[in-house]
């Protein structure tokens, strides 16, 4: 029991990034690499937040515009934008974000439940929130932003 | 140095089982897939004991044993026949071809090793 608790409280590392003025993060364990923006090949009949697919060393990688996905204005990607290549289960996805800001270390018990807010996107895509200095950082639920599941919902 | 045993069997399953049982008992195993192949491997590998199946394509076990016995340096190497038949006629034929003894399939690995110890120094 005690061992389980200590495991649950073990610190995890998160990669934080900015979308507009808000901060988000994902578990570093699911991040495979971070790369610069390259133009994507558009997919017919895809939801707007799916920017298309790019070639990641032979793998067809779908690119999600995370801002659009979370209900913000769609991103106008430039050379400075980055793609976070993340994996959950067997699915690999590229997340288009403005910039990666930091890697933070956070014990599991410091992750708080998502406050009850009106935004449907926030409820669906945010797993929990954490406080660092004067910022609030939302932990992205990677599975929910994945296009395979998203497409079914669409 | 561990004893080198040649197994001659067209069935992969049997070859694998023999290999598992024999290597487990510390023997070195070389394999052949039929009688013809068996004679080739015999000459190349110089095993100290041979275990052969009877029913095989190209050359059956009887032909293989006769062939082996015609090679001078294999005239007295122990050759065990591996067979499902409990048929005495088959055993007799194998013996007249020059087989040292026999093992009836399905074999128990422990007993297999016992039989090998019985015919090999």
């Amino acid at each position: 029991m005690a061992e389980n608790e200590s495991k649950a409280n073990a610190a995890r590392e998160y990669i934080t990034f900015r979308i507009g003025a808000q901060y988000y993060c994902i578990d570093i364990m699911s991040v495979r690499e971070i790369r610069g923006w390259t133009p994507a090949t558009a997919l017919p009949r895809a939801p707007a937040f799916v920017r298309g697919v790019i070639n990641l060393r032979g793998v067809v990688l779908p690119i999600i515009d995370l801002a659009d996905r979370l209900g913000f204005e769609p991103t106008e990607p430039t050379q400075r934008h980055v793609i976070i290549v993340a994996q959950t289960g067997k699915n690999i996805v590229g997340l288009l974000v403005d910039a990666v800001s930091d890697i933070i270390n956070m014990p599991a018990d410091k992750v708080q439940a998502t406050p009850d807010v009106g935004s449907e996107a926030a409820r669906a895509f945010v797993l929990g929130v954490m406080a660092i200095e004067d910022r609030m950082i939302s932990l992205i639920a990677l599975e929910s932003v994945m296009p395979t599941l998203a497409r079914e919902a669409a | 140095m561990s004893m080198k045993i040649l197994t001659v069997d067209d069935s992969r399953t049997m070859r694998d089982m023999l290999r598992l049982a024999l290597t487990g008992a510390g023997f070195e195993v070389v394999q052949a897939v039929d009688g013809k192949d068996g004679l080739d491997v015999l000459e190349r590998e110089d095993p100290q004991l041979v275990i052969t199946d009877i029913n095989m394509p190209k050359m059956d076990g009887f032909g293989f044993i006769e062939g082996a016995r015609r090679i001078d340096r294999f005239r007295v190497v122990p050759i065990l026949v591996l067979t499902t038949e409990s048929d005495p006629e088959k055993k007799q034929r194998a013996r007249s071809a020059g087989a040292t003894g026999w093992i009836v399939k399905p074999f128990d690995p422990v007993k297999l090793v016992d039989v090998i110890r019985r015919v090999a120094a």
Partner: protein
């Protein structure tokens, strides 16, 4: 993995191969094309299955295989003639054996009555009792030692020592079979305490000594807890090759083991060594190594499929990289340098060759698939009371393993159909002046980079008036529709069409030809039908040899690069003014050689642009979909024609309507491969499938 489990897996793989051999062999025996070796091979197949099954204690499989094998042995020995009824039973037995293998592997229960019925049949042919009762020793469930030919020896708690007097004189044959006195004595010594005396009186002077003769004899006294049988068992292998006398002496003396036992055993060994030394020929021969004559024992290796697929993927990357490199060099203008240009050409050839060689690893002959169909034919023929003969051709044609795997279900369905619906009953055939036995022909052949598989029957052919009336009744076509014969035949592929008025137990299963067609299309194949009334029908499938690459035309549509599979393109053309006509508010057709073909704006259909583009500014690709429907696809420009490596879009994203897969082009960017049929369907989505059909 547990090594025994790995061997078990091997066993089941091997069973599949053996069952294939069995099927082929039995077919040959039935056709009368079998020779002695065929019968031997058939026997060996069953024998091997039995052998392995015994090792894994698959009792029912062993029991059945044993009866089967016994019958085959009779045929092999000429005691039983492979007449028609016998062959019928054999084929049935092969089916039961295959089922038993499947059940042994996957679990589940076989209907006992079926196997018992076949056992009874086989036994009746052999005029013998069921063999399983004859040889209880082979029942794996019995005494485990019995399998090895030994009986376990009872050991009493209070050891009673038995005394045995053994006189043993080997004959030369004993040595000729590789047995040795020393080993026998050592075996005896293991049973208890042994005193051995070697009689050397008969050994002649060296000059008279015959190296192949046997001159020595032994007298031994054994004190052992073991019974007589155990002592006799030591000499099991030399029975007949020696004079042996074992006498159990009453009331054994409670004497301690003789200290000289070891020496006593070593002594004859020393003599034997001397004897060998006296036979120089033997020694010399042992040293004369006939080295270097051996050739490779096996010319095949087994490779994990994952490794092959990894290699194929890597080669795919290589192809893409090579294309990218070429493009970069071209862009850099370095190609003016002749040696660079030649180098690039060589690299391209080499890459192509590597790719083809790697693809060939995954290729397998269609033979096992065809072999399975023989059984389907038999079963359906039995169930429908039809007399059918399956003729197969081109079983050696090789296709990608995945294609073969995914072909099994559609092929099974078509074979069932051919026998159940295609062929007439024997009486009807005779009445029609045809032989009572119907024929189903299954063939495979390579044709221009694809494999064509045909299923032909010599039955009644498609009853077109009936097909048409059913289609009308089901609302698939208008009552007054004028259809050509081909169009009527193609109605069979429409979803919801089923010719059998009562769904038959054999072809029924709720699967129609539309499902077959979809499975074939999913493989990148196409299927067509031809039929002649009273003469039969032929289903012809054309399939890609591999699922990994595709020949395609690279086109531009609304700034996007797309690849159109070359096999669906009939011709390309540039529309001229006055050839395109509007049809209704939302459709256009193009006039080609006096006919009108629907014109599909690919960019518009895929949503790449919101308005249709002007047909005069683009290029049209005349395509034919699987049902023989023609459409004209409109694209902006044609760029290139090339082989592309197919990449799954589904792995990380999902299926996209109108798109078959993705690929990576020379510039490293992803291009989508068009699913032409889906595009055509989507553009007609507002209509019924039959309208689409009639549009052709």
């Amino acid at each position: 993995m547990d090594p025994m489990q790995a061997i078990k897996d091997t066993f089941f793989q091997e069973c599949e191969e053996q069952l294939g051999e069995l099927e082929t062999g039995l077919q040959a025996m039935e056709d009368g094309t079998a020779d002695d070796e065929t019968v031997n091979a058939v026997f060996r197949a069953v024998h091997s299955i039995k052998g392995g099954a015994g090792a894994f204690k698959l009792d029912r499989l062993v029991k059945f295989a044993h009866v089967f094998e016994t019958t085959l042995d009779r045929i092999r020995n000429g005691q039983l003639q492979p007449a028609v009824p016998v062959m019928k039973s054999m084929l049935r037995a092969a089916d039961v054996l295959a089922d038993l293998v499947t059940f042994s592997r996957d679990g589940g229960a076989l209907d006992d009555s079926r196997s018992n019925e076949v056992i009874a049949e086989l036994s009746a042919h052999c005029e013998a009792k069921p063999a399983a009762q004859e040889e209880p020793a082979e029942e794996p469930d019995g005494n485990p030692f019995a399998a090895l030919g030994w009986e376990p020896v009872a050991v009493s708690l209070e050891p009673v020592l038995n005394q045995y007097e053994i006189v043993f004189k080997p004959k030369p044959e004993l040595y000729a079979k590789g047995n040795e006195t020393t080993r026998l004595m050592r075996e005896l010594a293991r049973l208890g305490s042994l005193t051995v005396h070697c009689e050397t009186a008969d050994v002649p002077l060296l000059a008279n000594l015959e190296p192949e003769q046997s001159y020595l004899s032994w007298r031994a006294t054994l004190l052992s807890e073991q019974d007589l049988a155990a002592v006799q068992a030591v000499f099991e292998f030399v029975d007949g090759d020696c004079h042996l006398d074992i006498e159990a002496v009453e009331s054994a003396a409670e004497t301690a083991p003789e200290p000289e036992t070891k020496a006593a055993i070593e002594e004859p060994k020393a003599v034997a060594e001397e004897l060998r030394a006296a036979a120089p020929a033997l020694r010399e021969a042992a040293k004369a190594e006939a080295a270097g004559t051996a050739n490779a024992a096996q010319n095949t290796i087994r490779v994990d499929l994952d490794r092959v697929d990894r290699l194929i993927n890597l080669v795919g990357e290589l192809v893409i990289n090579q294309a990218m490199l070429t493009q970069r060099v071209l862009e850099a203008g370095a190609v003016k340098n002749a040696s660079i240009a030649t180098g690039l050409d060589d690299l391209e050839h080499l890459t192509r060759e590597i790719q083809e060689s790697v693809m060939a690893i995954r290729a397998q002959p269609v033979r096992p698939l065809f072999q399975r169909m023989a059984r389907i034919v038999r079963e359906v023929a039995d169930a429908t009371g039809k007399n059918v003969r399956l003729k197969t051709e081109g079983e050696g044609a090789e296709v990608d393993r995945t294609v073969i795997e995914r072909l099994a279900d559609p092929l099974t369905h078509m074979i069932r159909n051919a026998v159940d619906h295609g062929l007439e009953r024997p009486e009807a055939r005779t009445a029609a002046g045809k032989p009572a036995q119907g024929e189903v022909r299954l063939s495979a052949a390579h044709k221009s980079g694809r494999v064509v598989i045909e299923i032909a029957d010599d039955g009644r052919g498609i009853d077109r008036p009936r097909v048409k009336s059913i289609a009308i009744k089901k609302g698939l076509i208008a009552p007054d529709a004028q259809l050509t014969d081909t169009e009527i035949d193609n109605l069979l592929f429409l979803p919801g069409f089923s010719t059998a008025e009562t769904v038959s137990a054999i072809s029924g299963r709720g699967v129609g030809m539309d499902v077959v067609k979809r499975s074939i299309q999913a493989l990148g194949g196409r299927i067509s039908i031809t039929s002649r009334p009273g003469l039969g029908s032929t289903f012809s499938m054309s399939l890609p040899l591999t699922l990994a690459v595709l020949d395609g035309m690279v086109v531009k549509v609304a700034d996007q690069t797309l690849v159109v599979p070359l096999n669906s393109i009939l011709e390309t053309m540039k529309p001229k003014g006055g050839e395109v006509y509007g049809l209704g508010p939302d459709s256009q057709v193009i006039g080609i050689r006096g006919g009108f073909t629907p014109l599909i704006d690919v960019g518009y259909e895929l949503g790449f642009r919101s308005h249709r583009s002007d047909p005069m500014t683009g290029v049209t690709l005349l395509i034919e979909t699987e049902g023989g429907v023609r459409s004209a696809l409109m694209v902006d420009a044609i760029q290139d024609q090339r082989q592309v490596v197919i990449k799954s879009l589904e792995a990380n994203y999902g299926h996209v309507e109108g798109i078959a897969a993705a690929t990576i082009l020379g510039d490293g960017r992803i291009a989508l491969i068009l699913d032409t049929d889906a595009i055509v369907n989507a553009s007609c989505g507002r209509g019924t499938p039959s309208e689409m059909l009639l549009a052709g």
